[in-house]
Structure formats: C-alpha cells, structure tokens
Amino acid sequence: MSFIDRFSTYHLDILREIGNIGAGHAATSLSKLLNQKIDMTVPAVRLVSFDEMMDIAGGPDRVIVSVFLRIEGDAPGSMFFIVPPEQADRLVRDLTGDTSFTFTTSAVNEMAFSAILELGNILSGSYLSSLSDFTQLSIQPSVPSVSVDMVGAVLSFGLLELSQQSDHAIVVDTSLNEGESTGEEVNGHFFLLPDPDSFETIFNALGVTAYE
C-alpha cells in the first residue's frame, strides 16, 4: 500500500493548517516588504498526479518564475514559490523602485534575479520557521535557487524524491494576492512538497498517529 492511501481527511486537515500558518507568516513578511496589503487564500491540500500538479501551476508549457529550495533537517522536502513572469516583474519593481526590470525578455538580468531570489528566500524562510515553531521540529531551508522556465521542467525537479515511492504528490498550495485596487494582482503560489517519510515525522511531532 502506498503511503498516500493511508491518509485520512483528518491528516489532510493538519497539512492544511500547516499551510495556513506558514503562508500566513510569509504573507505578513511580504506585506511588510512591499508596504501594502497582501491577501492570502485558504490553503488547498491536494492529492494529485504529477500531470495534475503541472496543471495547478498553469500547465507544463507555461513559463513561470520559480524559487526552489530543499527543506533539510528532521522533515525533508521541497518548496516552491512561483509567480507568473509579469507579476514577478511587478514584485521586483515594487521592491527595488526601478521600473526597467523584466523577466519576460531572454536577457539575463542579474539584479532582477537577485531580488526575486531574496524575496523567495524571505518568504520561504518565514513559512518554514513558523512550521518549525509549530511542530518543534528542526528544519532548515537550503540556499534557494531561481529559475525562469517551463512549469513542467521546474516542478518535476521537486517531485524526484516523491516519485520513487508514488505516482501522486500531496501538495500544500497557498496563494498570495496583492490586495490593491489597481486591478492588477500578484498571484504567488507556495507549494510545500514533503518527502514521503516526512509525513510521519510531522504527524508524530504534532501528537497524531500517522496512520490509522
């Protein structure tokens, strides 16, 4: 029996709460950085096939700006912060005050990459530290890495550990929206993908029997 078959909705609720706490802290950080209101959606915990996971992010062909990091320590896993290129532009422009930055041309813009990397770093850092506080587990983010490429190419990298055990992934998906009245919105997604063995660690740390 695959590890995924042994989950109940109760377990999924716990993962949803983890996404809620993590992304809540991340949204606060982003709000402080940009000095504006940031809205957060109720997290979705989805059990999806690999192809469905690509569709959540807009389809395997779609170009996306992603910050990826590995979670190291007691409960290893992968984490993505992804935003569409046009919205990454807006984030970087808001952050730096320079309106010439763009991810949509092929020319590599070191400053824009560096800014979005740091943004991803801060947001995932606050996500993970609140997760660590909540579970009392020791977890650290790796140095993040940024990539502007196709959804399929980027996300499949975070599925490698998982793919050795299953053809499905459990994704804790939270989106952040910039609640401005400009009509434009920043839709960023956080994907938390714990490695298969980490689920048990997380549940045990919260005093829940992993498998009922």
Binding site: S2, V63, S142, G152, A153, S156, S163
Partner: protein, 165 residues
C-alpha cells in the same frame, strides 16, 4: 487532400505510440529525458517521458514502468513490436536531461539530469538501437514533438526558440 492530424500527448512518467500523419509530444522536460523510438518505413514512433534512471531506486509497491529508463525503453520496444515494427528498423532520438537549478551541494538527486541521459544511452546500447541524434544537458526546459512522417524531432525552449534534430 484533407486529413486531420492529431497530437498524442505524453505525460510525466508515461509513454505512448503514434503513426504518421499524427505527431507525438511531451511538454516541459526538465531533468527528465524524452526518448523517441521510430521506424521511418512504417512511420510508427513511440515516445517515453523518463523521470528516473533506474528502477532499483523504486520504493513503490507497484512500479510504474514508464518512469524509469531501464524499464521504459524495453516496454516501449515491446509495444512497437506488437504493432509489427521490426526491431532492426528502430532508431532513437533523445532530448532533455537539463540541470534546472544550480546548487552548491551536489547530492546525487541534484545531478539527476545527466544521470538520466547516461542511463537512457546505456539502455539503448544494451538493446542495440542506434541513437541518431540528441539534444541533452544545458539548463533550459524543453517541449518536444516528433513527426513520424519526416523523422524530425522538434525542440522548443523558452529562451532559444525552436530547433530540429
């Protein structure tokens, strides 16, 4: 003459076959490798989207044979044989195996792209199918589409446009 051409899509860790005039495509290859086996006479082609190098890595109870290089290629050959394609007529083209992220810590999982390419080539050598052309490595994602009628593999990347091998 009017004919409808459909595109067969291959998902992650999946394979499928096609006959001309239809084409076969897989999207968003990163560290994964797209393997095309084709016969230019019967115009049959098969494509696999390989995710991991070897099935010895599998910890799953029911192995998805399309996921691993060492199981996907023999299985794809068998499907083509069932369609009447002769093994000696099969040729191969491959693309993918990129390094999407640069990390300082070089664990085995981090260089999965090159390992996938090595494993696919080794497997092709083992089953004695000639590798005609390849577009591997680098650090861009690829979407590939194979045209069995012409034997051309079309490769699209985000920054470098379209190329044909």
């Amino acid at each position: 003459m009017n004919e409808t051409i459909s595109i067969v899509k291959v998902g992650i860790a999946d394979f499928n076959i096609v006959q001309a005039p239809n084409t076969i495509r897989t999207s968003g290859l990163g560290s994964c490798v797209g393997v095309v086996l084709f016969d230019s006479n019967s115009k049959f082609a098969g494509m696999a989207h390989v995710m991991l190098p070897t099935s010895t890595m599998a910890k799953e109870t029911k192995t998805n044979i399309a996921k691993y290089a060492d199981t996907a290629i023999p299985a794809l050959i068998q499907v083509l044989l069932d369609k009447g394609v002769k093994k000696y007529a099969m040729k191969a083209k491959i693309a993918g195996g990129a390094q999407m992220f640069q990390f300082s810590s070089s664990s085995d999982m981090m260089r999965i792209g090159p390992r996938n390419v090595e494993a696919v080539k080794e497997q092709l050598k083992k089953v004695r199918i000639p590798l005609i052309s390849e577009d591997c490595g680098g650090n861009s994602g690829r979407t590939i589409e194979f045209h069995p009628r012409t034997g051309v593999l079309e490769i699209r990347t985000v920054n470098k446009g379209v190329s044909h091998i």
